[in-house]
């Protein structure tokens, strides 16, 4: 392919940025650069470099094991590859980190989710000294264990100290990927994950788009709506080029509470009455409610295409809209679509597609993030409504070029559904995302929120809808903002003078 100055060289971009891996085993290791003996970052990155995976096509040679590396701002600051004055060119959101009050105004982590309770109650002792996250992948558990051992041995030898984000009783405190329901694509709530992703296509012509890879990879601003930075001529910008930000977020999922909620709601007389015309069994009603919460059936079928039941033919479908599909113009255009997919269904909030946005949201359409997450922790026994004490949830890898404009914007929408000025949406009592809202009715950050979720059934009025009071199913276990630097930048950290990249572009 010809060189194009407006698209990144895939050989210089870390692999998980531009492609989702299908390796069934992974472990996500956290390190601090302080507290050990004889810290030698060059030797550490040099040891890891041969296994560092780029986004280049591996063809038939899928690696048995590989890794990617992220650095927090505090970590970068200690590596002395960027001058102190140039470090200030990084976005302040990245500099301050996710526990900063400015970010918490969007993330809304309170109570058991608050930053002081993150990382198994280690809180700010970790928030302030988490410097590096190494994402290790393997085709088998043996492949994974072997590379994890190499990484941790190098860390110990070179003065890094591992941080355990979970309690020791849970997989030794480490974040190991788990397989739910024997399906690598499932998360603990039973949904198939990772269907709706930005195209990540190259944008050689620089046409305005939120989907193309220059909204995620730093250094190619033409046509990007997220405008990833920094993009100057300073040492920070040179180091950051071809990198991407990762909002690394560990979210506990209370599966028993989720199952119990579905079961109790399915047996709610009001729900039964309003769904009587559908002649659903109790189990089918639970699945119907689960689909309404998410916007997709658990097999992945979107409600907009398969409103009545999951269908294999639509399980990975992406070709649908909310507003334009109705044939109605203006403020009522989302009423018909709400009868299929409720306004606050998770996938509709996270990506409202063509739904009209409020004036405060600008004219670029919804921001996108790329998700590369996976579950951690053992399965809860199928359908159980009593918790077994096992820590389980989501290892969230949310990729973006602009933490404030993409990740935090979408999180603020999830906590406060104020982004679309439609009739069906009550601005006096904004709902939250059906799966992810904080449910904190006393929140001063999200004023006057309601903890109810409205499912239009025969119409959109309260009498024609099911209104469920939503508990919280999630607890934030920790969050870190990392830069996933380019292959060349990590080579620089490793002291490799002339790293080789193949010439494939695009």
């Amino acid at each position: 392919m010809l060189l194009n100055p407006n698209q990144p060289n895939r050989n210089n971009v870390q692999g998980l940025i531009l492609r989702g891996y299908t390796h069934p085993c992974s472990c996500h290791l956290l390190f601090t650069f302080t507290g050990g003996n004889n810290f030698n970052s060059k030797a550490f990155f040099s040891d890891l470099y041969p296994k560092l995976q780029s986004a280049a096509d591996w063809g038939n040679n899928k690696p048995a094991s590989m890794l990617n590396i992220g650095l927090t701002y505090n970590g970068l600051s200690l590596l002395k590859v960027i001058s102190p004055s140039d470090l200030t060119y990084f976005p302040s959101t990245f500099q301050n980190g996710p526990s900063d009050p400015g970010s918490q105004d969007s993330l809304g982590d309170v109570g058991e989710s608050s930053p002081e309770k993150w990382w198994n109650n280690q809180g700010n002792a970790v928030n302030n000294k988490l410097h590096c996250v190494v994402h290790v992948y393997g085709m088998t558990s043996n492949d994974l264990d072997e590379l994890v051992s190499q990484v941790t041995a190098s860390a110990t030898k070179n003065g890094l100290v591992e941080i355990l984000p979970l309690a020791i009783k849970d997989n030794g405190g480490r974040l190991y990927q788990s397989i739910v329901q024997h399906d690598p694509a499932k998360i603990h709530f039973g949904y198939t994950d990772g269907i709706s992703e930005p195209s990540m296509n190259a944008n050689p012509s620089g046409n305005t788009s939120a989907e193309t890879n220059n909204n995620f990879v730093i250094g190619y601003p033409k046509g990007s709506t997220s405008d990833p930075g920094p993009t100057g001529v300073d040492t920070a910008s040179r180091f950051a080029k071809d990198g991407c930000y990762n909002a690394f977020r560990i979210i506990y999922q209370d599966v028993a509470a989720f199952n119990l909620f579905l079961k109790q709601s399915a047996n709610n007389p009001e729900v039964k009455k309003k769904l009587s015309h559908l002649n659903l069994t109790e189990a089918e009603t639970e699945e119907w409610l689960a689909a309404k919460l998410c916007g997709r059936w658990r097999n992945g079928s979107p409600l907009m295409l398969s409103p009545d039941k999951p269908e294999a033919s639509t399980a990975s479908a992406e070709d649908f809209m909310y507003g334009s599909s109705s044939g109605i113009a203006g403020a009522d255009d989302d009423v018909p679509s709400s009868l299929k997919c409720p306004f606050s269904a998770h996938t509709r909030v996270a990506n409202p597609r063509d739904q009209l946005l409020s004036g405060s949201e600008g004219t670029n359409g919804p921001p996108r993030i790329a998700r590369r997450g996976m579950p951690y922790g053992a399965d809860l026994k199928n359908g159980a409504t009593t918790d077994d004490g096992v820590d389980r949830g989501l290892i969230g890898i949310f990729l973006c070029g602009n933490l404030a404009g993409q990740f935090e914007k979408l999180y603020s929408w999830m906590n406060f559904n104020n982004f679309s000025g439609k009739k069906i949406f009550n601005p006096r009592k904004p709902p939250q995302d059906a799966l992810l809202g904080t449910r904190d009715l006393h929140s001063t950050i999200f004023p006057n929120i309601t903890n109810t979720f409205t499912i239009p059934v025969s119409g959109t009025s309260a009498a024609e809808s099911i209104v469920l009071t939503m508990p919280s199913f999630l607890t934030t276990r920790g969050t870190a903002y990392c830069l996933l630097p380019s292959i060349l930048s990590i080579a620089k950290l490793a002291g490799i003078k002339k790293p080789k990249l193949s010439s494939q572009w695009g």
Partner: protein, 150 residues
Amino acid sequence: MASPLTMYVQIKQDKVSQGIAAAALQSFTQGVQAGLDKAGIVHYATLALIPNPSTVPGKPVKGYLAILLMTDFDLAMNPYLDTFWDMGGGIKDAIAAIASISFNPVPPIKTKTQFENFINSVNLTPAPKTGGWKNFYQAYPLTVEQINAG
């Protein structure tokens, strides 16, 4: 919770910079009106010029020491600074103009990152690190949209 933003920027003393500051004061409302109306999340915005300090008590001094932009907008600061940039027009131009006459050197505001970093670097009322606001009062918790919805 609204986000208060109090931008204090010491400005250059040269004639051109002082003239830009004076002109900004006169045209501020007109310049940002359309954008802020469209955004629908800003409770108020006001621009003021801080006079140079007197060296002799009671004797006025010519010129301005600094420019002060005070505003208060709904929800989180980080993502909605991004929105103000996207809206372009008067808001973006007003911030860029303020940066251009800053006494402390500021790179030209050409990217979202520079926009975000400049505003945060001169904001005197960032969200408090611990314990909630101690220097901000609001009489009501409602958003502009909630108020307008009656």
